[in-house]
Subunit: 614 residues, 2 copies
C-alpha cells in the first residue's frame, strides 16, 4: 500500500517547526475581510479592468497562451528578492492564488532553483513571516484559454499590508518600503517614482481607516484583494507588468517574533530616505510647510480611550508656564491624519504615550524634540521603535523617554478585554504575579498579557520630573544644533579620483642623491659592478593630483605608493606628501618595477589606484 | 620627507598584476575615434540635448545642486552589478568621466562599501575586463553650478561595446545582453522593453559598420561618446535616469583572457532568450519570415578576401548534386546584414569557414544545420563559439565541424600583415616551427601568431569528406526532429501546488486495523494500559489533490508525508499513492503529531509542503 522511506535527521526540521509555531503567536488579529462590493458572479469584466479605471483606451490584451508568463528577479534569497513578472495572473477562485503560465516565450531570470525553500519571496517588508510568502501555481500556457481573462495593463505593484490598522505598521512596514521600492524599480522624470503604478493590497484586510495613505502613493485607484475576488468562477485577472517584493532597506525595527522586539540589526534605513518620503507625502497631501521652523509649539498626542494621561491639562499648563510655548493637543478623535501631519510638520516638541501615533515624529522638522511617555513598570529600553527612528543618523531629532516610576500614579484595568490589557481571564495566581511585578520582563510578540496589562495603564504624569525631562531635551537640542556644522550624519565620504599622467622611470643619481640630467646609459650597461647595488640609480615618480581634489576641501592629502620588482610577490608601500619623488632604497637599474599610486585624503578616504611600469 | 609604511604580503597583488598584464595582450586593436562633428567649443547646448532629438517639449531641467545624484544597485560584486542613476553627469573635459553629485537628497542603495575593489561594475558583458570598468568622480552638489549643464531627460542606457567591428562580439557581447538587460530594467506594455530608452555607446570607438544593429534596439538616435565630447570645456551632460551594467545572463563564451577560449562555465544563456532576440530583430527590421521552414536551401557564407574556400563553386555544385538543394552564397561584399539575416532566417543548412558571420546561425529556423569549416591544423574543439551557441538546449540546431586534415589542400600566407596571420616579422626559427606544426597548441587571447597564421589559410575543401559530414548532419537532424515530441529543452518542470484541506486526527482502530467510527474517547483516556502501545489507534490523514494537478498531465503522482511526534527531532517519511490513509506504526493516542504533506509528480517534481497537527 505504501513505500516506507524512513530517514531520521534532525536538520532543518527544527527550523520548520519553529516557523510554524510562530503561527500560534500571530501578531495580527485578523478581522474577516469585509465585502466591498456585492457583485458575485456578475461583476463587470474585460475593458473596465483593462483600462484600469483610466479613460484612455488601452492596447489590446496580450495573448498569454502564446507568450506565457515571464519573471525577472534580483536578490539571493526569499527575504531580499524582488521580482518583475510579465503576464502574472490571479485566479479569484481555485484557492485564490497566482498563476504562472509556462509557454515557449517564458523567461525566468534570476529565479531560484527551489522556490519552496522556503518561498520565492516575502509579500511584506517584515522578514520571513511564513504567513506572508508569495507563491504561484504553474500551468501550461495553453490552459489560459480555459479561463475568462481580464487584463490590467501598465505597471502594478502587489504586496501585503502587514497590519493596516496600526500606523507604525502602516508607515514602517508598508508605505516607506513601498516608496523606496517604487523609486528603485520604476522610473519617472519628474517624481521620485512612477505614480502611475497601480497598487494592489493582496492581504485580504478591509480598506481600513489608513487606506487614504496608500492612495497617496498612486495616481491610479488602489485595489484590494477583494476587488479581484469579485470576479466569477472561471475568471482570471492578469497583470501585464507586476512587481512583487518590498525592499527592506528602510526598515529599522523588528517586532519580536523570534527574539524580544528591538532595533533591526544592520538596518540600512537613512534619514535621507525618510525625509524624502515625508516630503513626498506632504507634497501629495498639498501641505505646504513653508519655513521648516515657523511653528514654535508643542504637540501633545492626546489619547481619549486608553493609555490616557489623566492630568493632561495640568501637563499642558506646565509646559506653557515653563517654556512659554503654545501647546496643541491632537488625536484621532479630533484631527484627520492629514491634519495631524500638517500640525506635526511645524512642531518643535512632540509628546505622547508609547503608541503608533508617535511614528509621525518622522514628519517633525529637524531639531525638534520627541518625549515618549511610558506607563508604570514598562522599561523604555525594551520598546524602542520611535527612539530608533528619531535617532537614525541625520534625522537630527532629540528623543527622550519619560517613565512613570510611581505605582500610585498609575491606574490599571484588569477588567479590560485581554487584547487591551485585561487579565481577568487568567488564573488568579498569574493575575497576582502580574500585579506584583515592578517591570514587564522581556517577552516575544504579540500577546504577552503582562505587557498588555502595563501598556494599557492610564497615568498621572508627575509634573516636576516630566518638566525636568523636557528641560534636559531642550538643552541637549541647543547643544546639538550649535554643533550642526560638524554634523557627520552624511557618512558617505567624497573620494579623490585617480591621479593623472603617472610616469615612473629609472634615473641616474649623482653622489648627493640628485638626478643626473645627462644620463650615460651605455656606461651604466657596461658597468662591471654588481647590478644589485642601489648606489647611483633611483626610481623617479611623477603624477598629477586627482582632478576633483580642488573641489573636495580635503584637510590632509597624501599619496600612497606601492612599488614592486617584476617577478616578486612582496612590495614596499610609501606615503608621499608630493606629486613627484625619487625613490632610492633598493632600486636596481636593470630591473622592471610596477608602481601603484592612489590619493588618500583626510587620513582614510582613498581614491582608486593608478598603475604604471618602468 | 616621507613616511615609510613597509609591509610585505603577497596576497592580492598577484591578481592585480595579472589583470594589468592583460593589457599587453589586449584583444582590441583600438582605432582612434573619428570626429563625428567638427564643432569644438560652439556646439548646440541645452534644449537640443534636453529634448533628446524628440519633437515633444521636455520637462524643466532638474536642479542637481539641490537634488544631488542618487543610485540604486542590485548585485553582489562588480561583475554582476547593475545600477540605476538619477542625475548622473558626464564631464566631456576634466579627464572625460562621470560625476556623482553628493547632495542632501542623495540616495545610495545597494551600493558597495568600496567601489574601487576593484570597480563598481563592468561597462561590458565581458566579465571583469579591467579596461571596461565604470567609475565616477565624487563632487559636492553645490559644485554643479560651476558647470554649464545640459540634460538628457527620460531613460538612458550607458555601456561600452566590446569590439564593434566583429559581428560575434556585437551580437554576443553587446546586443543580446542589451536586449536581456533592457527587458529586465525597463517596462513596456506592448514590446519586450521600453524602446524609448536612449542608448549611449561610451566605448569611444567610431560608429562602425554594425552601428545600424544598435539602432534597432532604440527608437531614439543612438549616441556615441564622441557626441558628448563635442561639448565645450566647462560643460556637463547629465542624465535624468541612467542605467549602467549589462546583464551577463545570455553570454555563453569566454574569449581566452585568463584561460584558453571556450564555452562559459555555468552559462545561463537559453534558446528562449536568443529566439526572443532574433524575433525582435527581425520584427524591427520589418523582415517577415512567414512559415519558418518555407525555404529549403543551403546558405554558403562566402569570404572573398581571406580564409577563402578555394573550390567554392565545386562545393556548391556538389551540394546541389548530392542533396538537390538550392545553394545561395552570401557575404559582406554582396549582401547587407539585413539581407543576410533575412536569407539565413529561412535556410535549412548554413555553411561557412570559422568566422564571426557564423554567429548569424542564431537566426536559423529550428532543425537547420550548421557546418563550420576549419582550415588545416586548427582543432575545432578549441574554438567553439558557434558550436556552443547552436547546441544550447532548445536551439534545436544540428552542428558539425568539418576540418581540413590535408596539408596539401591548404594555402598559407606567411607574407600577410601579422594581424591577418603573417609570420615574416617573427624570427626564422619561430617561423619554421609554426610551419612544421600540425596543430595550433592551446593559447590565450588575442594575438597568438600560430593561431592567426593557421586560421587565415585558404582551403580546398575535400568534397567526399565534406559531403559525408553534411550527410551525417542531415541524418542526425532527421532523427532529432522525429524525437521532437520528447524535446526536453524546456527544463523547467511545472510543480503541483499545495494539497488542499489537510486534516489529521488520531482515530481508534478495530482488531482488523480499520477505523472504529464510534470512538469512546473516555474509555481511551481511562485505559490502564501503557500509552506507548500502538495497538488500537492510528493517525488518519486526508487531503485534496493540488488544484493544478488535473492540468499538469503528470504520469506518476505520489504524496510525500512526514510525521513527527511533538518534541522529537526525528520523523518518519512516507510516500502515499492516495489522498487518504491511516498510519498505525508507532502511533500513540495521547501524543501530538505534526504532519507535512507535499505532492511529488513524475518521480522528482515536488510541490510545496502543507502542514497540519493533530
Amino acid at each position: 500500500m505504501h513505500q516506507i522511506v524512513f530517514f531520521a535527521f534532525g536538520i532543518s526540521l527544527g527550523v520548520i517547526l519553529h516557523r510554524y509555531a510562530d503561527q500560534d503567536d500571530m501578531f495580527l488579529e485578523r478581522t474577516a475581510p469585509s465585502e466591498l462590493c456585492g457583485c458575485h458572479g456578475n461583476c463587470p469584466l474585460g475593458d473596465s479592468v483593462a483600462d484600469g479605471n483610466s479613460p484612455t483606451p488601452s492596447s489590446p490584451d496580450p495573448d498569454v497562451g502564446r507568450e506565457g508568463s515571464s519573471v525577472w528577479c534580483t536578490g539571493n534569497n526569499h527575504t531580499d528578492r524582488m521580482c518583475k513578472f510579465r503576464n502574472l495572473c490571479y485566479a479569484p477562485h481555485f484557492q485564490g492564488g497566482f498563476i504562472f503560465f509556462h509557454g515557449t516565450d517564458t523567461v525566468k531570470q534570476g529565479f531560484p532553483k527551489n522556490r519552496f525553500d522556503p518561498a520565492l519571496l516575502d509579500m511584506t517588508s517584515v522578514s520571513d513571516h511564513n504567513t506572508q510568502y508569495f507563491d504561484f501555481a504553474d500551468l501550461n500556457s495553453d490552459d489560459v484559454y480555459k479561463f475568462n481573462v481580464s487584463f490590467y495593463h501598465g505597471n502594478s505593484f502587489l504586496f501585503n499590508r502587514f497590519n493596516p490598522e496600526n500606523l507604525m505598521h502602516v508607515l514602517h512596514d508598508d508605505l516607506l518600503p513601498l516608496f523606496v521600492t517604487l523609486a528603485q524599480v520604476t522610473l519617472s522624470d519628474s517624481l521620485p517614482f512612477d505614480t502611475n503604478t497601480r497598487l494592489l493590497l493582496m492581504d485580504g484586510w478591509p480598506a481600513g481607516e489608513n487606506f487614504e495613505l496608500y492612495q497617496v502613493l498612486s495616481d491610479k485607484p488602489v485595489l484590494l484583494k477583494q476587488d479581484l475576488d469579485k470576479y466569477p468562477k472561471g475568471s482570471l485577472v492578469c497583470f501585464r507588468n507586476a512587481f512583487v517584493g518590498l525592499s527592506k532597506s528602510s526598515v529599522w525595527y523588528q517586532y519580536g517574533f523570534s527574539e524580544p522586539q528591538g532595533p533591526l540589526k544592520d538596518t540600512t534605513a537613512t534619514a535621507t530616505q525618510i525625509r524624502h518620503f515625508t516630503n513626498f507625502i506632504r507634497r501629495r497631501f498639498d501641505l505646504s510647510i513653508g519655513d521648516e521652523e515657523s511653528g514654535q509649539y508643542v504637540v501633545l498626542l492626546s489619547r481619549k480611550i486608553n493609555r490616557v494621561i489623566l492630568n493632561e491639562s495640568e501637563v499642558m499648563f506646565a509646559l506653557i508656564q515653563e517654556f512659554g510655548l503654545r501647546v496643541v493637543a491632537i488625536g484621532y478623535e479630533t484631527h484627520s491624519l492629514k491634519e495631524q501631519i500638517q500640525i506635526i510638520s511645524k512642531a518643535s516638541i512632540l509628546i505622547g504615550v508609547h503608541g503608533s501615533l508617535l511614528t509621525l515624529s518622522m514628519f517633525l522638522p529637524r531639531w525638534a524634540i520627541v518625549i515618549e511617555i511610558f506607563p508604570y513598570a514598562v522599561n523604555p529600553e525594551n520598546y524602542t521603535p520611535y527612539k530608533t527612528l528619531t535617532n537614525l543618523p541625520g534625522m537630527n531629532l532629540v528623543y527622550r523617554a519619560w517613565r512613570n516610576l510611581k505605582e500610585e500614579n498609575s491606574v490599571t484595568h484588569p477588567d479590560y478585554p485581554p487584547h487591551l490589557g485585561g487579565i481577568h481571564h487568567l488564573p488568579g495566581s498569574q493575575q497576582n504575579e502580574i500585579m506584583a511585578s515592578g517591570e514587564v520582563p522581556l517577552h516575544l510578540c504579540c500577546k504577552d498579557p503582562e505587557w498588555l496589562f502595563r501598556i494599557y495603564q492610564d497615568t498621572f504624569v508627575d509634573i516636576p520630573s516630566f518638566i525636568s525631562t523636557v528641560e534636559g531635551a531642550l538643552s541637549n537640542r541647543n547643544t546639538l544644533r550649535s554643533d550642526q556644522g560638524r554634523d557627520s550624519s552624511h557618512n558617505d565620504p567624497l573620494c579623490p579620483t585617480k591621479v593623472g599622467n603617472l610616469t615612473c622611470q629609472i634615473v641616474n643619481l649623482d653622489n648627493l642623491g640628485n638626478e643626473m640630467k645627462t644620463t650615460n646609459q651605455k656606461f651604466s650597461f657596461n658597468d662591471e659592478e654588481p647590478r644589485s647595488t642601489n648606489r647611483n640609480v633611483g626610481l623617479k615618480l611623477s603624477f598629477e593630483e586627482p582632478w576633483n581634489l580642488p573641489y573636495l576641501e580635503a584637510r590632509h592629502i597624501r599619496y600612497e605608493v606601492w612599488i614592486q620588482e617584476s617577478g616578486e610577490e612582496n612590495y614596499s608601500a610609501w606615503l608621499l606628501p608630493t606629486t613627484e619623488y625619487i625613490f632610492t632604497e633598493n632600486i636596481k637599474d636593470n630591473m622592471q618595477y610596477y608602481v601603484w599610486v592612489r590619493c588618500v585624503i583626510d587620513e582614510d578616504v582613498q581614491g582608486p589606484f593608478t598603475v604604471a611600469t618602468t
